[in-house]
Symmetry: C2
Subunit: 518 residues, 2 copies
């Protein structure tokens, strides 16, 4: 079925392509995942307590630098010991503050059918973001434009396992950097009716995002309903900077959750020890989570991190390594111990092309984060070259992998067990099941059939052009895009968003204009 | 370090290559893995009981065909109801028989330093076998020769995570099919001092293997020590044939374990239901496991399977799908319920080249079988194209992936936790750890650094020739082979093995001579 769609003619797109696609592929978003897999918990209770005690000890005695006068003042008022830029929050205060973070909450999309739960057993897949390059529909590596970003937002919209369009999947280099957050946010909002992320590149940019959310959803609505997510990276070890903290305040004041994400390069900015790296990361995450509750008590917030180990050869981040899996298992336990939803990263990897390295790295990470029980599973599609590029081919394959992992995480289905056993009695030794009514009724739902894996004989594969997965995936992406239909956006709100952007672009100097790299 | 070795000059091989390799790479086999990860158990006790009851019901009421008069007679004598070729063993008899299968045992290698435990928490990685084609050291797909097989045995010997050289990793087409089992067994024995597998292509061939083991280890020794493994595939649904049963008898009489392996193409020869497929497979495995104990009470035996789901498009086997992971989780639970060591397959997949599909398939399966708690992890290196070819490049990458999974499965290491925490106090906020004594002492053991993943910048990667993983892996294989040193084989035993082969080759007609495909 895909083969028809993937035919070059389909690139011409338009009505007929859409008709074929609609008749053969369901692009309906999968509901937010409710995991049924047992959790991979590598620590017993005493080890969890050991990490907790070590982290609290770090907070109380080593302290965390908040390079931001407002935050330091906030901490002082909250009762923490502050010395210079270093905050030494005691464990009682930290526990008290994080206690008001909701364990689960609902994300609202502009299409309520695309709302998703987060926290506890509820997980979502979110595409990668932040790539300064893309490998495009012809697998050419280059700087991206706003059109390229729109393309990724359209793909995110059409790929069932993606629960979000995220934000700057790729950096739109054809727009002034100071205006970019407006165009990125609008692109996320316009090309899909799934949830999206909000830029945190400066406190004021974050305020723009919240304003635009207020336009899209209504000011009162977002006061009480999470509709977007900001990411705030820490500078490990134990530093939070002014940009991130200012953006955090904009989001939390607007009652919108942020990912409190220490940025770990294991061995470089953490100790050369898995449990000690987790203890440090945990202290960092707790300090930011606690601060969200100083900003606004009860605001949703998400325990986050970026996690890699570094190569001793080059200092480059590595992915898919055993320690990253182990740290994921442990961090998941810590987040659950504190009762806070947990964000991790999915398909990280350092391959320069979409080769087997990329496949191993991504699948290893995907599997680990599912077993670890992650909630907000970011960077779930497209990531390659240590995040330096987003690959169109990898994007669609990763998304199918997420759909497969989703199915696995739901656990086995027992509803037709007795009926299926009666097929065993019907068929008996030496028979086959393909013609049995139970098989015919249940085959498609019983066994996932990946579209982007080729399982044909080599003879058939050669007859079809000896296409490796990169080529098949790019044809798939072409076919999807040819069939894309924009979800209707209320005209008045669309106008208001455009007005807002126009006004803000007049106000914001575009002096730094286009990025030099473009 | 690898880069030096991977240089084309290293292909010339010889003493200097060996010297470089020895000084930079440890080829010592990793001890048999003792897993510390929690098991992914997707069934509760009542669901395990439901599968058990369904399987016993299949055995008692649908029955299992044993296409072999000796086996039918054996079953009759053991007290089972037999009608025609169908055996209907009741659950009491089955439970009684399998109760004497050892839960764990030790495999003995000709180098006692390479002995490994199997069962319980003990696992081993074994390379793929049975490929009619290879992708060779130049990535050319062709029929293999005995030299190619020797090459894979040498690589298995040198790759630390491989615990076995297996047997016919590739089919040596340059030898008459009727003589091949002798040459294959000798190649496994000669090129490595790790454990190996034994051919089960006919009952008489299996007897030859056992005779050769008796020569290598001593007749008395193998009477009480497992030294090799045979694989006996079932024909699902519910049939065991004469070849496999005869080979099984040769192994079990010699006290050597066999893998009792139903051959499942989910949806084609099992019902279109995950739990019902497991119930049928479990019945099949139990019937063969029980028969091993009729042959020789107390003989070690291994619960096995080959497991795929079939593509509705082509009927081809698929791998890395969610249902395969789920079935692995469930089958692992059943094997543990019966207290029998469990074999599964590792890097199955249908990719035609070593592309990203192969990476995803292999990593998904590897991760799942570790979480599932598999013991005898077969097909752990080289498998591609649904087993139609063994890829040299994939072989070495898979083996490194197994080493990484091994590390993950060992769980986090806490031995230096307090020391590493004192580094956090030393470094404080905003510092870095690379120069800290704890980092320098522990970096290499704390974080796995894959040799075959490239994590350099794209600029450096281009400067080094823009090599995708296939090319890097082939260079790695060349370097390994250039540095290969054959482990000494006792001269008298070697002579005796060669005499045995010469005698048997005179006795066995080579009429069917070379395989037509060659």
């Amino acid at each position: 079925m895909t083969d028809t769609l993937a035919h070059p003619r389909a690139r011409a797109g338009g009505r007929s392509a859409r008709r074929i696609l609609r008749s053969t592929r369901d692009i309906t978003m999968l509901p937010g995942l409710e995991r049924a897999l047992p959790l991979c918990e590598v620590m017993d209770g005493s080890e969890v307590a050991r990490i907790d005690a070590a982290s609290m000890d770090i907070l109380e005695n080593v302290g965390v630098v908040f390079r931001d006068p407002i935050a330091l003042d906030d901490w002082r008022k909250a009762g923490a010991k502050v010395s210079g830029e270093t905050v030494y929050p005691d464990r009682g205060l930290v526990r008290d503050l994080i206690a008001t973070i909701p364990e689960t909450f609902t994300y609202h999309a502009r299409n309520p059918g695309n709302n998703v739960q987060l926290g506890g057993r509820h997980s979502v897949f979110v595409p990668m973001t932040g790539a300064p390059y893309l490998r495009d529909l012809d697998d050419v590596r280059r700087n991206p434009t706003l059109d390229d970003l729109a393309m990724f937002h359209k793909l995110s919209h059409m790929l069932p396992a993606m629960h979000s369009t995220a934000h700057h999947i790729v950096e739109p280099y054809d727009h002034p950097i100071s205006h970019r957050h407006l165009r990125i946010t609008y692109s996320s909002m316009k090309h899909s009716d799934k949830m999206f992320m909000g830029m945190t590149t400066s406190p004021r940019n974050a305020e723009d995002v919240i304003e635009m959310c207020a336009i899209l959803f209504g000011e009162d609505f977002i006061e009480t309903h999470p509709v977007t997510t900001g990411n705030c990276n820490g500078n490990s070890p134990l530093v939070w900077d002014e940009t991130m903290l200012g953006a955090m305040r904009a989001f939390c004041r607007g009652n919108q959750p942020v990912l409190c994400s220490p940025f770990v390069l294991g061995g470089a900015n953490t100790p050369a020890s898995v449990p000690a790296s987790v203890a440090q990361l945990n202290a960092e995450a707790l300090s930011a989570l606690a601060y969200t509750q100083i900003i606004r008590r009860g605001c949703p917030a998400i325990y986050g991190h970026y996690l890699s180990t570094v190569s001793m050869k080059s200092g480059a981040p590595m992915a898919g390594t055993p320690e990253i899996s182990l740290m994921n298992f442990m961090i998941g336990q810590m987040a659950r111990y504190y009762g806070v939803p947990w964000r991790t990263s999915n398909t990280l990897g350092g391959a320069k092309t979409f080769d087997a390295q990329a496949g191993y790295e991504s699948a290893t990470t995907l599997s680990s984060v599912l077993h670890a029980g992650a909630n907000y599973i970011w960077h779930s599609a497209g990531w390659n070259e240590a995040g330096m590029h987003c690959s169109v081919a990898k994007f669609v394959v990763d998304a199918e992998q997420c759909a497969m992992a989703y199915r696995m995480a739901e656990g086995p289905k027992w509803h037709d067990f007795d009926e299926a056993l009666s097929a065993v009695r019907d068929i008996g030794p030496g028979g086959h099941y393909l013609g049995h009514p139970h098989t015919q009724d249940n085959f498609q739902t019983a066994f996932f059939m990946p579209e982007l894996f080729d399982n044909n004989s080599i003879e058939q594969w050669i007859a079809e052009g000896s296409k490796e997965i990169t080529q098949r995936a790019l044809e798939h992406a072409h076919a999807l895009l040819a069939a894309y239909e924009e979800p209707t956006l209320d005209e008045a709100r669309n106008e208001a968003l455009l007005d807002y952007i126009a006004r803000r672009e007049r106000e914001i100097p575009a002096a730094d204009a286009l990025n030099q790299e473009y």
